[in-house]
């Protein structure tokens, strides 16, 4: 028993020291959930101030964008804009601007995700070894990723090209299978009413803190971009917030999706450039 607890304590202390020295990398998401936690923890613990920042709230549609500079992407895969907002509300300061992805505003906040940010999770602030990006397997994953091409080169005795994320052939979906996504029906009115009420509370809270707010819509497969489903959400947002900027999706035919609703890597990069330009034009950044 004594050996058990001493081993745990020694490892825990050593790992926390090591975590303090690890290079700051965000790309250590073993899965979507850990990716979301890493994103949220980075906003909570790694950023000194949000006052000069623009924050993007959204879902998996927007989660793949990787901004540089003063824009933070708090879009969370499989989750909602409200979960990202919950993370923001745990901080004592507010961002300068918030861009809200409009594609799935009807998705409610996740109770499971909220549970990850209770009082106990504050331990992560003081013990970096507890943070998701510093999970031992995540660190070894990064190490393996770094070492693999070098080991290959060593074994084959020649240079091996480093794999570029997203460089693999991009998967696309058969258009016929889009029928299964159920986009031909508008979102039920009652669901929309509840969603807009929730969204209004979020907008009011942010506006009270002096945050500038705007909406944007990610492109999807061209056959469902203007489906009754997408149109109903878009119209509901525009009607509820007539004074706030709404950036419509660009021509969806110019973008490629992997499954009908999520953009492929190259299309994400393309849309990100477009969005950043529009951000500057619409709200000055």
């Amino acid at each position: 028993m004594k050996k058990l607890f001493v081993t745990t304590l020694v490892l825990f202390i050593a790992w926390n020291f090591m975590a303090m020295m690890l290079p700051d990398q965000r790309g250590s998401s073993q899965n979507l959930w850990n990716g979301n936690l890493t994103t949220a923890e980075s906003v909570l613990f790694d950023i000194d101030t949000l006052k000069d920042k623009t924050v993007v709230l959204g879902s998996s549609h927007a989660a793949g964008m990787e901004f540089e500079g003063n824009t933070l992407n708090l879009a969370l895969a499989g989750l909602s804009v409200y979960d990202g907002h919950m993370v923001l509300s745990k901080r004592n300061d507010s961002p300068r601007k918030v861009w809200i992805e409009g594609n799935v505003v009807q998705r409610p906040p996740s109770e499971d995700f909220a549970k990850m940010f209770t009082l106990l999770s504050n331990g992560k602030k003081y013990f970096p070894g507890l943070r998701t990006k510093n999970q031992p397997v995540a660190v070894f994953e990064r190490l393996y990723e770094w070492a693999r091409p070098r080991l290959k080169a060593l074994i084959l005795n020649r240079e091996v090209a480093t794999e570029v994320p997203g460089a693999a052939p991009e998967q696309t979906v058969d258009e016929n299978s889009l029928v299964e996504l159920g986009r031909e029906q508008a979102v039920p009115e009652e669901d929309l009413r509840v969603a807009i009420q929730r969204l209004k509370r979020l907008v009011v809270e942010l506006a009270d803190q002096g945050v500038a707010i705007a909406f944007f819509e990610m492109p999807q497969h061209h056959s469902i971009c203007d489906s009754p489903h997408a149109n109903s959400i878009r119209e509901a947002i525009k009607t509820a917030f007539p004074d706030l900027p709404y950036l419509d999706h660009p021509d969806c035919a110019d973008y490629v999706t992997s499954d009908g609703i999520h953009l492929t890597r190259s299309s994400i990069v393309k849309y990100q450039e477009y969005l950043q330009k529009q951000m500057k034009l619409t709200t000055g950044g």
Binding site: T7, L11, T118, Y144, Q171
Partner: protein, 467 residues
Amino acid sequence: MLFTTTDFLAFVACTFTFYYLLPTSGMQVGLLLASSLFFYAYASPSLLILLVASATINAIASHLLCVVEKKSLRRLLACVGVAANLGCLAFFKYSPLISETLFSPEGSIGAFLLTVPLPIGISFYTFQGISLLVDTFRDRESQNTAGASHLDKTGLFIVFFPQLIAGPIVKSRDFLPQIRLKYFRDIDWEGSTKRLVTGYFLKMVVADNLKDLTQGMQYPHFQTRPATDLFWMLFAYSMQIFADFAGYSLIAIGLAGLFGYKLHENFKFPYTAWSFSEFWRRWHISLSSFLKEYLYIPLGGNRHGSVRTYVNLFLVMLLGGLWHGAAWGYAAWGAYHGLALATERFIVNRFQFTGTDSLISHVMSRTFVFSFVSLGWLFFAIPDFSHVLLYIRCMVANQHPFAFQSMFPFLIIVYSSPVVIYHALDILRRSKWARTVMQLEPWLLGVMLFLILTNSGSSGDFVYFQF
């Protein structure tokens, strides 16, 4: 209340503290009863009524079985009691299946059956009720234990919180004699700690991380994954379901140990089995032994010739499959294992084949059994039978190289490795290597506890909660 939540830890700490302050067995039983009911009601208070009703009916029926002398009346009482348990299970668990199969969902009966709620743990506590009645019918003396009242004792047997939701299924003759005044000094700290740490490690580090890697097995997502990913996910799910359920069982046994109760082990290195019958002696042992004792043997077992034995094996596994869930996929899973067991018995009987001792034979038979069992888990991962067939078709057809995630197999290998090492230790238990590893046990448990703190996956329900 999940075993992995802070709420549960606080609940156990409170119960544990007061439990050993109480001076009599009756008071300790009362506290455990109250705590167990609170534990059950925490998530769905309304379904507590059914649990209390089930426990009360079984307690009264078993009490009557103890006091009634006339054999025919005792038999009638036992039959009515068992039928009440099975009726309750059938109504609450299989109403949606009956509705979908026999009625139109738009009709009044079909619509009503679809609204019947599924109380968590009903499959486990009704089986324990049956065990109580059958054991009391067979040997009433075994139920006459000192201490608390009959109602309290039998009530505790059915609702004891460590094993209430997902087993291990306990037999009354094993549990009731253990009810007596418990002392703090008698706690098996080493055994309980070892099981709790291993159980939490298997659940929180192995199963919960693998769970996020096997999400792509769900319909329709698997259709877009390459065949290699589908094989990796199937392997990962096989590891996940073991880690999840064995983890839960170990936590349950460890917790029971803290309160002075000894529950039997529920898993014994199942993936090292070299035959299907051996697999079922190692996997979910409490269910296998329950089905054997209360179903297979009463059906005639192997006492009525070869053909009847094959039919009995098949029937028991088919019903065992349906016990897991109200979907035809589970019945198919039971039939799949029933056919395997019957075929294996036929081969053994017909050709007197019992395997050979050669290394190649052992490796091949173990690999075959593991692969067969793992393929069967598809029925668990994907409840719709047609989707299972589609998954298998995609395993052959999806040969396109797109979306190959190079880190995917790496993560599956890393998170599966504890399960593989755990089983390897059993195979190599007599080797010097295994003995060295066993000597390092306290330090390995320390590493496990460290990983629970730093590398747990997202919290999720235990897979067996749905049963």
